[in-house]
Symmetry: D2
Subunit: 359 residues, 4 copies
């Protein structure tokens, strides 16, 4: 069954990992076919994620998880060009982004509003072909229709912004004091999100001075170098000796997790989004049990509660992403993008395909 419009080319340019080695290549692949409940999207803007960088660098995680050949990328927006026979949610011409976690929709988690943690989830650009290409096929279930008020650049990074929103909303920050450990791009996004969601104070901690400066511009009440001696006490002093009510852990660093947990007051909440690469050695008794903490593992974004919340925050102007998008580059400059990520110069990079890949 072939759903492609007759005037469409049958192949397309893609950024792909072709062999088990560092780097990506611009590579011609077939335009994906769609089934009855799928949607074909012409990709216009994409966001570059740390995960893409891991795959680019071909580190240990990538070597274990990625099976080349693979079109990479999972943060994107574009326009619907074709829909399967059973699709009702969108139509050609609709401007969309999409949830990149493709769930099975049949398990208990999917059937109870928790598809984001489906055990059989396939992530685009990781487990199946992704969004760094002229076209991508997505199940209609995953497609998110964009509000006209949302600019393309912001729409392209709703995926990581959604991580930040899900973390903040799961923790609950209204009227509360908040520490964010790790201000990579998601940690940075969490700052305006936490402010907009009602945090009374936001303390940002990292080791990168430029990122901390950006954190300040994005609304952090105070910024701290993670290596400052006595930092736990410093944070307690600012919170009446008690510690903060909420920790948003976005570094994945074992020592940051331990420090962050010490900063949370008894009865507080710690939401863990950062992924440690190794086991973490924790004093469970002192850090979690005696304190009566609530620790939340955070994965992805809720479908689609988080997407609605993200839209509300961006559309209302409560969250402004402009300071975070440090670079918008033409798509073919992807090598430069990864170089900017490696150097730590960039916060968030958006690549523009529109007009850049004309044949």
């Amino acid at each position: 069954m072939q759903y492609l419009a007759p005037d469409m080319a049958s192949t397309m340019k893609s950024l792909s990992k072709l062999r088990p080695e560092p780097g990506f290549v611009l590579h011609e692949v077939p335009v994906p076919a769609i089934g009855p409940t799928d949607v074909l999207i012409k990709v216009e803007k994409v966001g570059v994620c740390g995960t893409d960088f891991h795959i680019y660098s071909w580190d240990k995680w990538a070597q274990n998880r990625i099976k080349p050949p693979l079109v990479i990328g999972h943060e994107f927006m574009g326009t619907v060009v074709e829909v399967g026979a059973a699709v009702t949610l969108v139509k050609p011409g609709d401007r969309v982004s999409a949830e990149g976690h493709i769930a099975d929709l049949t398990c208990v988690l999917c059937r109870t509003g928790q598809a984001h943690i489906c055990e059989h989830v396939k992530i685009i650009g990781v487990d199946r072909d992704g969004a760094f290409a002229e076209y991508i096929a997505m199940p209609e279930y995953n497609v998110w229709k964009l509000d006209p008020a949302i600019p393309d650049e912001f729409a392209a990074i709703f995926d990581p912004l959604g991580n930040a929103v899900h973390t903040v909303m799961a923790a609950g920050v209204s009227t509360k004091s908040v520490v964010i450990t790790g201000v990579g791009s998601i940690g940075l996004m969490a700052i305006p999100v936490a402010r907009a969601a009602g945090a009374a104070s936001v303390y940002a901690i990292d080791v990168n001075p430029a990122k901390l400066e950006l954190a300040k511009r994005l609304g952090a009440d105070e910024i701290f170098d993670a290596r400052t001696p006595g930092l736990v006490d410093e944070i307690k002093r600012r919170t009446n000796g008690d510690g903060v009510e909420v920790l948003l852990e976005m570094s994945g660093s074992g020592s940051a997790i331990d420090m962050g947990l010490q900063m949370v007051r008894n009865g507080g909440t710690a939401a863990l989004l950062g992924i440690p690469s190794d086991n973490v050695n924790i004093n469970l008794a002192e850090r979690i049990i005696f304190k009566g903490l609530t620790v939340l593992g955070i994965n992805g974004r809720k479908m689609f509660e988080t997407w609605y919340q993200t839209q509300a925050l961006v559309k209302s102007g409560r969250v402004d992403l402009r300071p975070i998008i440090t670079h918008v580059l033409p798509f073919h400059e992807f090598d430069r993008a990864f170089e900017l990520m490696r150097s730590g110069e960039a916060a968030k990079i958006v690549l523009d395909l529109k007009g850049d890949l004309a044949k």
Copy 2:
């Protein structure tokens, strides 16, 4: 047992209801004695509440509830001058406000963190002598130590601000759309509180144009005259046809409640703070049951979770009460205060006792 300091006068000036008739008189009464777990507070600033106006006017509610003679008033701040033998929370010289709902502290509600809805609660200035006097005796349990960063005027109205905070926090507004029906002084306060607590949009509805203007200045995204034809549809248009996620009902008007419930989308939350004077005729099936609404009865403020939240909002500067406090008058001008309330000119009036009642 007499705990009064030897140099203190044994009588004091108070604003009292002496007979079952309209009006108040400045009246000399004994300085209250304190027991072992009580605190004596020299009152410095007080807030004038609609309840005080009901008692002043001697309306039906007041006639049923109030037993003269009574010192009135329940919103206040001042300085501790004396503490009972078993008091540990505060000491003379501490600057304080206090929760005016005096609970029995022995019932199941008090013993499970819900003292604010204790069935045996006594309200100062309503069920027992109140705060419009040179001194007030309070159980230490009710006393709230003020942070030095909180100005006196704001501290004097933590009680009604706490009503607003409790309503907003019970409903939960982070990233949500909110309608407020009724922008009397608590409804007005609810606007910056809802914004600070994370609301993505706040629509204020009332019939008083001056209050609506003030609502706009305080941060309402849009203001509406409640009598506008088609207002329910108007609100739905602004919320993608769905209706708002949260209703904060602060009018006590039956028709506003009915209208407000229609504005809430299925699955939303309605927090009811306004007190209807009569029964309300509700289409429970259409307004609440089929919609799957959550309706919350709101009474008072949580002890002392709401007080901490209120402090966090004011201290962090997220909530600025200055536009709401339209008048600060010397205490002896209380008749003018009630006249300003009657005319609808005032939003919140604070009376200043310090230096005004020198003997």
Copy 3:
């Protein structure tokens, strides 16, 4: 497009409302066609609901809502005989029940786990053809695969049992005291459900002595005639003078709602499932606001959290429905079923189609 198996008849027997008048007729209609995401189910057992009785009697509600001709019925179980091309959840031969609320799956409620209160819901047997027929077509999304341990009779009434489970779970009854007002079939089901879900005590109230006797057999700790003078005080005496923590309102009667709300202690929860036919006059101030109650409108069942909970309760044996299913009749005795309902003799009636409608 015709998906019917070649050996299937093209028409089938159905119980239908053909004209706007009382009664139903056994009527030959076309076997429904299915689309790519639909499932065709051979119906085996059905439950008779009060709603069916309203349509049978052709009362005011039915006259306003029902557009003949219509196949009625919404409680059922059967076997899948055909699936659309895009169906992945089930296959022919699967034993299934189904959620009768057909949601649009595109609105904000459907996309955030609240499809049960979708504003565009169509109910089978009410808004579109129903289950009292040899076959029914259902969207695969609505189909519920039955665990082999669940007997047919129980499976046929998962819909109303799900109402009871959703009400109980929304209220939260673990370790709590519970009043159930109204023990029609769903109110009766709520008794073993509340017990199994952890209620420490269950008080059942109704005016029908036979139903109250059945309530007792099903595990109610005590049963009361709703007309007993001083019943509110009676319930308070049994709960240390405080009142119950949870009201499950299943009568739809205005006076029962008022009485039930009086029985709930301050800070308690009232879950309203019963549908009042008229407006209800409520003292909102005394019954809900001052008490700080949480009032929950309950509609349908959560898809599919409630279904999983229902399955867990039945499969584990924690809930035994046998005492509630007072009659299992051959399908063609439907008139007798409605007569049993009219007389109040029956609690729950299941009709058996298997073998009864052989051509």
Copy 4:
């Protein structure tokens, strides 16, 4: 200030740790004096806890924490014999137990309903003199009036039963599948509590066959030796391949924690009550973050929500503690009690002071 009744002896027998070495001695100490908000209780029955055994054995934890001389013991019930001048909650003659965590009642946690995790908590029998004596002085805030329907033996162990109830209620088990890792006395209590609170299935895991047998008698659906190969898969097989919804961790063993977390399905809840003696090495990414788990640190019991819940469960007969109380011994046989604990023969031992310590 001396509040003792004139006819009371001024000294009393106590079980004390007098020197930093193993063992306890029966030792004469002064009857404690009470302040204005304290209550003096004549102790009648006490429960022996693992903590008492640690102090008896003088292990590393005890050496670090305990400062002799100290009267030990924290689980008890008795009769009020004297109350301070400001006490309102109880009166002489009242039959009581008491919460052994003495909080400061002034910090943010105490003032917001979380006194059980007050940072300045003092535990009786650990940080200050305890209950293994003829009399104990307690703040009235901590005293719990016993319902006449609660037998003395059960009342004496409301403290550990409360640990079990708090853990179960924090996790939320209604209609859910539950694994309990570790069935020491609190783990055993958690079984009937989880059943009564609505768990659909309870799987108990330990290494002690006798305790597992007792677990079965107390209502565990299935019991497992923790060393069974493939036990994680075994549990998944029983839960449709998904894993359980709730883990109640009551062993404090690092390997049990790791195994238990593997048994929880994505999106599930793990409540940690067992105290690991060392750091635990956790794969946070796989065990908590990707799974989207909620991990709850559990400490003590909520004051006094847990006490009310505990009372409701015991009084209603939903929880029967008789199989857990394996021994009731006269108080002077305390050495035998600790020997029974050491050997693993006993589940819960209650010591009886009444009539045993006559002078």
